[in-house]
């Protein structure tokens, strides 16, 4: 077996390369191709860190390049409902980058990201490695640069029984946010809240969630939206009814448009089917 096929070595190269990003040593994002190649890794610390900096790199370009073909898969595995609390929380930062750089990103890029987010799929169950709760991207990457990792036998990732999309992650992450709000104001809860806020230095509120949803729905093709409409409606019910009417309107419009296009497609498909049968 050559080196190219040795997943351990590939992941160790990726971890070593990404460490400088995780440590904050990189200020100019230029390694788009290198970061894109790391997106295919099965190791979540690598794919999620690579995704974050791949997005930052893409946004930093004046002309947004074509998306990498592993982007959807990386987004899909990053927004995993099965993540531990802190990692779940850190994914807001990815969404924030997407929302911030939305206008800069090319249509294909946005579409690929949104497709990955809304795709319903079985998500990988994480293998516990070290202290998952208190880990940082740097410590997770360093966990790959160890002899224990190198000597461990490769295991096929276990997948969840049910299908999940990024919306399920969003629901879970938002419920975490709500639980932080509703908890009693004890020293422990204050500390925990501060810790979560320090993780991403971002104010997570209804407006941000709605804004992100709007952008994602705007970028996603209609056929990705149709399967998640029930979940989306359920999620929207969590938010206060009168608040943010403009975003609610945009979301409803996007859903309606998706439904309409889906019906058009079905009519067209049925017509095409009848036409073909007639010809035969």
């Amino acid at each position: 077996m050559g080196l190219l096929y040795d997943h351990r070595v590939r992941n160790m190269i990726a971890a070593l390369s990404l460490l400088r990003y995780a440590r904050g040593d990189v200020t100019h994002y230029t390694e788009s191709l290198l970061l894109a190649s790391f997106l295919q890794s099965r190791e979540l610390p690598i794919s999620s860190t690579a995704l974050e900096y791949y997005m930052r790199t893409t946004i930093s370009y004046s002309n947004s390049p074509q998306p990498c073909r592993y982007l959807s898969a990386a987004v899909s595995s990053a927004f995993n409902v099965m993540l531990p609390e802190e990692q779940l929380w850190r994914r807001w930062a990815l969404l924030d980058i997407f929302v911030d750089g939305f206008e800069t990103l090319s249509v294909e890029w946005r579409r690929s990201f949104a497709e990955g987010f809304f795709t319903l799929s079985r998500r990988p169950l994480l293998r516990p490695r070290g202290d998952m709760e208190s880990s940082t991207p740097e410590s997770e990457l360093e966990g790959i640069l160890t002899w224990e990792y190198f000597h461990a036998e490769e295991e096929e990732p276990e997948l969840t029984d049910s299908l999940f999309s990024g919306l399920d992650w969003m629901a879970m992450a938002w419920s975490l946010r709500l639980s932080q709000r509703s908890r009693r104001n004890t020293a422990g809860s204050r500390q925990r809240k501060a810790k979560l806020e320090n993780l991403i230095r971002l104010e997570i509120n209804e407006e941000f969630v709605f804004k992100a949803l709007c952008k994602l729905l705007d970028a996603a093709p209609y056929y990705r939206i149709i399967p998640i409409i029930p979940t989306l409606r359920e999620l929207l019910q969590w938010f206060d009814e009168p608040g943010l009417p403009e975003y609610r309107g945009m979301i409803s419009t996007r859903i309606s448009e998706a439904v309409r296009r889906h019906q058009e497609f079905r009519i067209h498909h049925r017509f095409h089917k009848v036409h073909c049968t007639w010809d035969m």
């Binding site: 050559g2 040795d6 160790m12 190269i13 400088r20 990189v26 640069l145 190198f150 000597h151």
Partner: protein
């Protein structure tokens, strides 16, 4: 003493009466001279009055007399001192019996005893026989000298008899000087022994000298080799124990002394009163010594068969501690007395042993399972004992979870070496698997401040060598050379022996063996013994199978420091012997940065542009820069562009943290 002195004085007086007259002029000679003079005067009247000739006794008579008087004087002195001491001893007991209270009597006696000790009365008593011996010697010399001038035949016979006596005395005294256990000790021999020990200690290098890295290599000159041989011979003939080496030498000696003393006493009591309570207590003490975990070396003796022939054996053995039971089985194993083991390790006794956390107990508990009671022959059939892979794995797992002390490791290694050497365990495979975790457990603590324990390394190499040697005589030779003089480290310093290890090892164990030997090389790095490290490394990598070596190296990498890993990694990809030598020789603390860039360049030269790197070697290249310094980063930034191999360039770029 006084009677002997009186008898000897009387005997000597006879000689002195005879010789005393010879110191004065003989009256008969004077009369004879006068008569002769008168006769001459009658012939010639012109002669003047008679003037007697001046008398001077012969020199030998003076000397003989002096010697005899000296002898008499010393003897009288001895008698005088003996009388004095006798009176002092009487004084010691004075009034003791009159004291009615035992406590008062004991205190008074102790008070006087302390005074006697303080004023060296026992030493004074010990001088008395020496005084008599001196007196006898003076007399013998005087007599021989006297007879020499009187009669040659008498002189010859007497000299021969005295010569035999002197020779006998010299031999017994010399033996007591050199051999501590001899019964010929005397104050003179003790004094001579002290002098000899001081002289020996002055010329003989200490144990530390033999354990130092300076002794790892054989001297290149003939003079140096001769000097080394003299040093080794002096050390082997050392008549004293060295404090620094107490755990290796004293323990063995004390162990043997205690065991032989206890076993001998046990035999006497057992013969006189079989199954007595004393016998059991003493027997227990024998096994406590034999099974004591504090002794780094296993007991080196076999007890006679009667010691295990106990009625209700299982009940008896079930009361003994596990360590003693282990010692009993070990000794039975060594003596191939397998039927004893079935008694010892049955039922409740086994369960008791299983509760022990001692790894060696877990090995030994498995052994009796190899013996099957055969009712057809009313005896026990000897099955080949196997330290099976499962047992080895259990043991290895236990060693990984439980941090074994050095003494425990040494005991385990040496006992396994001994049992393997006498074919108690014919299979050689699992032993390397046991050596490896032991050494890995210790290797993680090695650095320049805590250099590796060379005695432990010697024990590991000895077990590995014994396990890989098919010939029984060779195995015994390897064991005995290390066990008899552990300070000489003969096996770890014998690179020819290391060269034969691969021949006796199955191919599927080569990786483990290579890992083990790499750990020894790693130890040599921190021991600063570069010559031996190069020799070992050359032997290990003789076949040039880089993937195997890299895989073996990464297997032990978790226990190694970056420095050790980079030195061995660099040597692995070095193209020339000079590079290997300089890699080991020029190791200095914190030289990982230099070594890493050298590792990249050497491996790049070896691979060229087209070949894929070996995953294990590549993993080393990726692991080392994890804790890199800014200096190394600068080196890598400058040097990575020159690399031809794209994979290495990628790794170097990641290591250099280039954007």
């Amino acid at each position: 003493m006084i009677v002997q002195a009186a008898l000897f004085a009387a005997f000597l007086s006879a000689f002195l009466i005879e010789l005393l007259g010879r110191l004065e002029p003989d009256p008969m000679d004077i009369i004879q001279d006068v008569l002769i003079y008168q006769t001459q005067m009658m012939r010639n009247s012109s002669l003047g009055p008679y003037v007697p000739a001046e008398f001077s006794p012969p020199d030998h008579i003076v000397v003989v007399n002096a010697l005899f008087y000296a002898s008499l004087g010393v003897m009288i002195l001895a008698a005088f001192i003996a009388m004095l001491i006798k009176s002092w001893v009487h004084e010691f007991d004075r009034g003791l019996r009159a004291m009615s209270l035992p406590e008062q009597r004991a205190k008074t006696r102790e008070f006087r005893y302390l005074g006697m000790e303080r004023w060296k009365l026992p030493e004074m008593v010990a001088i008395l026989p020496s005084l008599i011996q001196i007196s006898l010697l003076l007399f013998a010399i005087g007599l021989v000298l006297f007879l020499f001038h009187i009669s040659k035949p008498s002189f010859g016979v007497t000299t021969a008899i005295f010569g035999i006596g002197v020779l006998y005395y010299s031999i017994t005294t010399s033996i007591s000087v050199f051999v501590t256990s001899s019964p010929f000790h005397s104050p003179i021999s003790r004094t001579l022994g002290k002098v000899y020990r001081h002289v020996h200690a002055y010329f003989c290098p200490g144990i530390d000298h033999f354990l130092s890295e300076a002794m790892d290599t054989v001297p290149s000159t003939t003079l140096g080799r001769v000097y080394r041989d003299i040093q080794v011979t002096l050390q082997k003939s050392r008549p004293y124990l060295e404090k620094d080496f107490v755990e290796l030498i004293t323990a063995v000696t004390v162990d043997e002394v205690q065991l032989s003393t206890a076993a001998s006493a046990l035999k006497r009591i057992h013969d006189s009163a079989p199954n007595s309570q004393h016998s059991e207590v003493l027997q227990s003490s024998v096994w406590q010594v034999a099974g004591g975990t504090s002794h780094p070396l296993p007991p080196l003796f076999s007890l006679p068969s009667w010691i295990l022939d106990i009625e209700n054996g299982e009940e008896h053995f079930s009361h003994l501690p596990p360590a003693i039971l282990v010692a009993m089985i070990t000794i039975s194993l060594r003596a191939h007395r397998t039927n004893d083991m079935s008694d010892i390790a049955s039922g409740a006794v086994r369960r008791r042993m299983t509760d022990s956390e001692d790894p060696w107990t877990h090995v030994i508990i498995k052994v009796p399972e190899q013996f099957i009671d055969d009712p057809q022959t009313w005896g026990y059939r000897y099955e080949v004992m196997e330290l099976t892979q499962t047992m080895s794995n259990d043991l290895t797992a236990m060693m990984r979870t439980k941090e074994l002390h050095k003494e425990e490791c040494l005991r385990l290694l040496r006992t396994l070496s001994e049992l393997r050497s006498v074919e108690c365990f014919p299979q050689n495979k699992p032993f390397i698997g046991i050596c490896l975790p032991i050494l890995m457990g210790h290797a993680s603590k090695w650095d320049y401040q805590n250099p590796p324990d060379i005695v432990l390394l010697e024990a590991v190499v000895t077990l590995a060598a014994i396990s890989c040697t098919e010939d029984r005589a060779n195995r015994l030779n390897i064991l005995s050379s290390s066990r008899d003089h552990p300070w000489s480290l003969v096996n770890i310093r014998n690179t020819n022996l290391i060269g034969t290890l691969y021949e006796g090892t199955p191919p599927d164990t080569h990786k483990q063996l290579t890992s083990l030997l790499f750990l020894v090389v790693y130890a040599f790095i921190y021991r600063e013994s570069s010559t031996l490290a190069v020799q070992y490394f050359t032997i290990i990598t003789a076949k040039g199978d880089l993937p195997l070596y890299a895989s073996a190296l990464t297997a032990i990498a978790p226990s190694m420091t970056d420095l050790g890993l980079s030195v061995i990694g660099r040597a692995l990809v070095a193209r020339q012997t000079e590079d290997i030598i300089s890699t080991f020789r020029d190791v200095v603390p914190y030289s990982e940065d230099f070594l890493l860039s050298a590792l990249f360049n050497s491996y790049d030269n070896q691979l060229g542009a087209g070949e894929n790197p070996d995953p294990n070697t590549f993993a080393i290249l990726l692991m080392l820069p994890k804790r890199h310094s800014s200096y190394m980063r600068a080196r890598m930034q400058n040097g990575y562009i020159e690399l031809k191999n794209p994979w290495l360039r990628l790794a170097a770029r990641a290591a250099a943290q280039l954007n």
